[in-house]
């Protein structure tokens, strides 16, 4: 009997095991004097992979909202930003501009998740009764409002420069930069795996069936005595909290937050990744996001060998991404790994 056979059966349990292993390995690199030397060609890979892990938390939350419950949240970035900015404002030491209270980062991270969840509850309580596409507009407008506030309230949010001086716990523990990168990637990957296990368990449970019933036909769910609104609300808050966790981790990794990290582009990337992979399938959305982020990585390498300028290349990449979105919606609305029947779309 091989080791693989003795592992627990479910996808979720396996993800939890992988997550545990990742976190342990991250701790090994961060806490011991052990160092690694990464080839400098791989730096860009690690940077994109760490960002992928952060966005992975976002896409899992969004999938809970859209893929399972059918809530169209086009302001997902606002919860990401709420987590990031809360952590920054609570934990930053003497930022250049704006508020930095210098509290311990653990407390700040917890607060970041809570603030994002609270914001989710607030947006949800007011907008979840709106029709599908109007919920999209309300959430989008919320995200734009907050983006404007971040840019304009320099004394609080640091304006365009943002907030710096956020503690970087992993960097502080690890011996050198290369080890930090690896430990960060392992730790964030572990967080994604744990989240995967959690959402998988949630959606496999009868609870998840109710969410999908709300998505398929709200009236049916209500006629069975399920309060569609409170299920929608819970899914929305869970998704917001996950995005807040992503934002908090991101702030603690980069050591700074700025409005430029939290633009509409984040929402678009996560949405396209989710639709490409197949909304409703946890593995699918992570894979879809990997394809979209892989394109970003690929374009960084391709830039070196093609004769066009960097800005032209960025435009071409965004054209391709836009066209991918158009093509999925038209030719494969369930995404690559999604279940068309479950999503109620014609292929």
């Amino acid at each position: 009997m091989s080791v693989v056979d003795r592992l627990p059966g479910g996808e979720g349990e396996r993800a939890a095991l992988i997550g545990g292993a990742c976190v342990l390995m991250a701790a090994l690199f961060a806490l011991t004097p052990l160092v690694v030397a990464l080839p400098s060609a791989l730096y860009v890979f690690f940077e994109v992979a760490i960002l992928y892990a952060v966005y992975g938390l976002l896409v899992l939350g969004l999938n809970l909202q859209y893929g399972h419950t059918g809530l169209i949240n086009f302001g997902h970035v606002v919860f990401f930003a709420a987590g990031g900015y809360t952590v920054a404002m609570l934990s930053a030491q003497n930022p250049f501009a704006g508020i930095g209270l210098g509290y311990p980062w653990v407390a700040a991270l917890v607060a970041g998740v809570l603030v994002a969840a609270l914001l989710g509850a607030l947006v949800g309580a007011t907008s979840l009764r709106l029709r599908d596409d109007f919920l999209a507009i309300a959430t989008l407008a919320t995200a734009e409002i907050f983006h404007t506030l971040f840019v304009n309230f320099r004394g609080i949010f640091g304006g365009n420069v943002g907030l710096s001086g956020i503690p970087q716990p992993i960097a502080a523990l690890a011996t050198d930069g290369d080890t930090t990168l690896l430990a960060t990637l392992l730790f964030f990957g572990g967080c994604v795996a744990f989240t995967f296990a959690a959402v998988r368990r949630l959606t496999d449970a009868p609870y998840g069936r109710v969410l999908r019933a709300v998505r398929a036909d709200e009236l049916v769910a209500r006629s069975l005595g399920k309060s569609a609104f409170s299920y929608k609300m819970q899914a929305f808050v869970y998704g917001a909290a996950l995005a807040g966790l992503g934002g908090g981790l991101f702030a603690l990794y980069s050591g700074a937050v700025a409005p430029g990290f939290f633009t509409l582009q984040v929402t678009v990337t996560v949405w396209i990744g989710m639709l490409l992979g197949g909304a409703g399938s946890h593995r699918g959305v992570l894979a879809g996001l990997a394809i979209i982020m892989g394109l970003r990585l690929l374009s960084r390498f391709a830039l070196d060998v093609t004769p066009v300028s960097a800005s032209a290349f960025a435009s071409i990449r965004l054209i391709v991404i836009g066209m991918i979105l158009v093509a999925i919606v038209r030719y494969r609305p369930a995404g690559i790994w999604g279940n068309a029947e479950e999503l109620g779309v014609d292929s």
Partner: protein, 304 residues
């Protein structure tokens, strides 16, 4: 600067938003989609106008006409290529497609035209109204000196002309009446022998024409760059929803509300905070969605 001057600015902004918002809301009402790529229709119209007036050195009114025709054609071709084939799938796939198309178009324009801003070659006469008495209430001056440029008058005049033509179109012509019938009840319209696809095509054309005109007017007032339409799309959307999505007359009212809110909040916010005026416009939008989602003159959008 007094309140009166800011009201002038608000009316000008409201005018070009209104022209665009009418096109946006007609598509919403008749094709039943939120067209997020509409900002790019405006950008393309503005660039057609720049080409016509700059490269071909046509006079500005002719260039505006060329931009309107170009906008209408581009809108029809894009709709035929991207939106009509998936018309039956409902509002969400259409919305997602328009987001993807908008992203692609915006960057295609950026790729071709570069990142810089271009300007229409215009000359304006400024009419000043000096010597108006100040009417201070607290720190706010309710009257004060004000000026109006001939270009601002052109913008407002174009908007009024569009409103009148639109009213005539919707009430006096067959195609306009068919549009209203389709917005009201598509099945009934088809039973009455209306070719719904042809009506949809004409709505796309009309929306494109309006986008072209709005693009040129925005270009005259500010400048033309690849992101110009996108920077207005949320305000247009806010205006259309504020007025009651699908209602062209509501969109006009909503646009002037948004225009005035933008101008007045810019004027009366403490300096350094003027940037949040767009946030205030969206706040108005969110409040409208929450309090009266049907807007000033529209149908119910709250479910069940």
């Amino acid at each position: 600067m007094g309140l009166a001057q800011n009201v002038v600015f608000g009316l000008v902004t409201g005018s070009y938003i209104a022209i665009a918002a009418i096109g946006f809301t007609l598509i919403y009402g008749i094709v039943n989609m939120i067209n997020f790529a509409y900002g790019e229709f405006i950008t393309i119209g503005a660039f057609v106008g720049i080409l016509a007036s700059g490269t071909l050195s046509l006079p500005l009114p002719i260039a505006a006409l060329v931009a309107m025709v170009g906008g209408g054609l581009v809108s029809l071709v894009l709709a035929r290529g991207f939106f009509t084939p998936i018309n039956h799938t409902g509002p969400v796939p259409l919305l997602l497609t328009s987001i993807g198309l908008g992203l692609a178009l915006r960057n295609a324009v950026r790729l071709v035209a570069g990142r810089g801003a271009r300007y229409f070659d215009t000359s304006a006469t400024t009419y000043r109204f000096e010597g108006l008495p100040d009417l201070p209430v607290g720190s706010v001056d309710l009257l004060g000196n004000l000026f109006v440029t001939s270009l601002q008058l052109v913008v407002v005049g174009s908007a009024v002309a569009v409103f009148l033509l639109l009213y005539t179109l919707l009430t006096r012509t067959d195609v306009g009446i068919a549009m209203r019938a389709l917005a009201d009840d598509e099945d009934l319209a088809r039973v009455r022998g209306i070719d719904t696809q042809r009506v949809r095509d004409s709505v796309w054309m009309l929306a494109g024409v309006l986008a072209g005109l709005a693009g040129v007017l925005i270009g005259i007032q500010t400048n033309v760059s690849a992101g110009i339409g996108f920077s207005f799309v949320l305000q247009i959307l806010a205006a259309a929803i504020l007025g009651g999505a699908g209602s062209p007359y509501g969109a006009i009212a909503g646009s002037y509300v948004i225009g005035l809110v933008l101008a007045l909040s810019t004027a009366f916010l403490p300096s350094g905070m003027t940037g949040i005026s767009s946030a205030i416009a969206f706040l108005v939008l969110v409040i409208v969605l929450l309090v009266k989602p049907s807007g000033i003159a529209g149908r119910e959008v709250r479910e069940a």
